[in-house]
């Protein structure tokens, strides 16, 4: 990087800040100078203006347009070709199956490990440090995590194994495996990365929820002569049900949209592709806009029931309270 390059970048940031400050300043100026008649109305509109503009251009219009594009072929004619492709081509079907596998495994395993860990370390000495260890991967990008685990999964044709997993296999007398190129274990190993990242998230939320379960209830159950497992299943789990739902759905949605892991590790080769990665590949690499849009729409359809279920559960909980 040369000095002028750096200067150019700094200048961009400074200009960005100045423009942002100017926009906000101008808005506030007009907000305070709004006409007396319908004053609140004007002020409201101006406060909301930038956010609504961004949301309309960045989300509302594009989502509608993508829904239309999904039903058009490359020539712009209406057709169902994209969906026929998605449900008939073996590669595309495999993508759908993989996505289902991801959503079936990652949220469940992350939540279970996160919950177990939260329970184990609850009120233990050094709980804070224990938590940070598991929570840390949250701050690491999927790409960074990809490199970290790529090194664990590394394969050497000749000589010592430098990948941890193969080194363990060899130490037990096995043959080294090309993990990322072996179907179907490669998909599972990619899911492991997702679990590694998300478990900390589950653990932090569930740990907070566990601390919210009234100790009186647990003590009462203890007096009734229940063992620890019974207390856990009958008192703690019902007590944190709301948080469990939130954790589970949040990870499910994140998993559905997972793109970076697959992109970095295998780019979707060796039968590892998922819908989100295939959407990128079709729309931006193969210029199959229709197919990409159809995949995006499918993703939306997958996410929809999870979100609706989540909203319903929360609404019911509010009513109970």
């Amino acid at each position: 990087m040369t000095t002028p390059d750096l200067l150019g970048k700094i200048l961009q940031v400074v200009m960005g800040l100045v423009v942002l400050a100017a926009v906000v300043g101008l808005l506030i100026f007009f907000i305070d100078k709004a006409p007396k008649k319908g004053r609140d109305y004007w002020q409201l509109a101006l406060f909301l203006l930038p956010a609504m503009l961004f949301v309309a251009i960045g989300l509302v219009y594009p989502a509608i347009r993508t829904s239309f594009l999904a039903f058009q072929n490359n020539a712009g004619e209406w057709s169902l070709d994209n969906f026929i492709w998605m449900f008939t081509q073996p590669a595309a079907i495999r993508t759908l199956i993989n996505t289902v596998l991801w959503v079936a495994l990652a949220p469940v395993i992350s939540t279970v490990i996160g919950l177990a860990y939260a329970v184990f370390i609850d009120k233990s000495r050094g709980e804070k440090y224990y938590k940070v260890i598991l929570f840390m991967p949250i701050a690491i990008s999927f790409v960074g995590a990809g490199v970290i685990w790529g090194f664990v999964y590394d394969y050497n044709g000749v000589g010592d194994q430098i990948g941890l997993l193969n080194a363990i296999v060899v130490a037990f007398g096995g043959e080294p495996v090309q993990w990322l190129q072996t179907d179907p274990i490669n998909t599972i190993l990619l899911i492991v990365i997702m679990i590694w990242i998300q478990t900390g998230f589950a653990m932090v939320l569930l740990s907070a929820a566990i601390k919210g379960v009234p100790t009186e209830q647990i003590e009462a159950a203890e007096l009734d002569g229940t063992n620890a497992w019974q207390r856990f299943m009958n008192v703690t789990v019902p007590g944190i049900r709301g948080s469990l739902v939130v954790v589970f759905t949040t990870i499910s949605i994140a998993t559905l949209k997972v793109f970076d892991i697959v992109r970095t590790m295998t780019a979707g080769n060796f039968n590892t592709s998922v819908v989100a990665n295939e959407m990128y590949t079709q729309a931006f690499r193969a210029s199959e806009i229709g197919r990409g849009s159809a995949l995006a729409l499918i993703l939306f359809v997958f996410v929809l029931p999870i979100v609706i279920y989540n909203v319903n559960v929360l609404r019911k909980q509010r009513e109970i309270r």
Partner: protein, 331 residues
């Protein structure tokens, strides 16, 4: 994974030995019960230790490797570091500062990441705070519907807006970028503008929702009192709401910071992939693709890319968790 879950879960108390003995003296209980309690908590301790170790080892291996000479990384496992000692900073020097065209030249991308994240976070935060204030404190009947609508936008996956947004950007934003380049030639034609805008667009629904939760919790008396004193909405927003909402703003800022920093998808589509604009995640993904076996470069590059979010995470962890809890439990 169920193998790590012992049959007996110590939900009640897992105390250190000294405390447990002390407690046993105070509480009635047989010796057997005491021993059982110690044992179950030991199983739990071991299980949590195993999980903690498994979770740390991959990152630790990466960190150790990034300081080993290329030759040693290629031929020996990082866990043999004591048998095959070697320490070097050369990997970092190569990825960060080497100007040779064959090196990763990460320095440039690191600056991009900082620039993208700085404004990608700030724009979202400012506009979200304004919207959240309006939603919370300016009353109109239909405003609630609009708020629910904005909240509902969170169910739109990013993927759904990429194609049309790229088309909008190439028709409308591109001329503006070219114009910017013409008047200030030092600014490249591919600049940060699309990335800043895209990150703000995608981050706003969640940001508005979270900040609204906090801002609507400000006592009504405070705001009414200011109104009685003749304060305008602009003054209330700047002098009262923003200072009172600072913890919420901070926690969301960390959120958005880590999210934008770690993003790959938005960068791939809107950055153009050049050294002028692309963030470090994009460069790292590229290196994995082209130099997947040069672990001396990959490990150092990966560590450079994760060190800043890790610093932010460790130093501001408390706010981060607070934001997480607010977002997940109030939703």
């Amino acid at each position: 994974m169920s193998s790590v879950a012992p049959a007996d879960l110590p939900i009640d108390k897992e105390l250190a030995d000294g405390e447990a003995a002390e407690l046993a003296e105070r509480e009635p209980g047989t010796k057997a019960a005491r021993v059982k309690k110690r044992l179950t908590s030991r199983t739990a301790t071991i299980a949590s230790l195993v999980i903690a170790v498994v979770w740390t080892i991959p990152t630790f291996g990466l960190l150790v490797s990034s300081f080993r000479p290329a030759e040693l990384i290629r031929t020996t496992g990082w866990w043999t570091i004591f048998q095959n000692p070697g320490f070097t900073l050369e990997n970092y020097a190569t990825v960060l500062f080497s100007t040779s065209s064959s090196s990763p030249q990460l320095g440039s991308y690191l600056v991009n990441s900082i620039a993208i994240t700085l404004l990608g976070t700030l724009i979202t935060l400012v506009f979200a705070a304004m919207a959240a204030y309006a939603f919370a404190w300016i009353r109109f009947k239909w405003v609630n519907w609009l708020f629910i609508f904005v909240f509902a936008l969170q169910i739109i996956p990013l993927q759904m807006s990429l194609v049309p947004l790229l088309q909008i950007f190439s028709t409308w934003l591109r001329p503006m970028q070219a114009w910017l380049h013409d008047i200030v030639p030092i600014i490249p034609e591919q600049n940060y503008l699309p990335l800043w805008l895209a990150h703000a667009m995608f981050g706003l629904p969640l940001a508005i929702f979270l900040l609204h939760n906090f801002i609507s919790d400000i006592p009504a008396d405070v705001i009414e009192a200011a109104k009685v004193d003749g304060a305008t909405h602009g003054q209330i927003f700047f002098r009262i709401v923003l200072p009172l909402a600072t913890p919420a703003l901070a926690s969301f800022a960390i959120f958005q910071f880590i999210w934008v920093w770690n993003d790959l998808l938005v960068a791939l589509i809107f950055s153009g992939g050049t050294q002028d604009v692309a963030p470090i995640t994009q460069r790292l993904a590229e290196l994995v693709g082209t130099r997947g076996q040069e672990w001396q470069l990959l490990t150092a590059a990966a560590f450079v890319s994760i060190v800043i979010p890790l610093i932010v995470f460790f130093s501001l962890q408390r706010y981060f968790v607070r934001g997480l809890l607010a977002g997940a439990t109030k939703g």
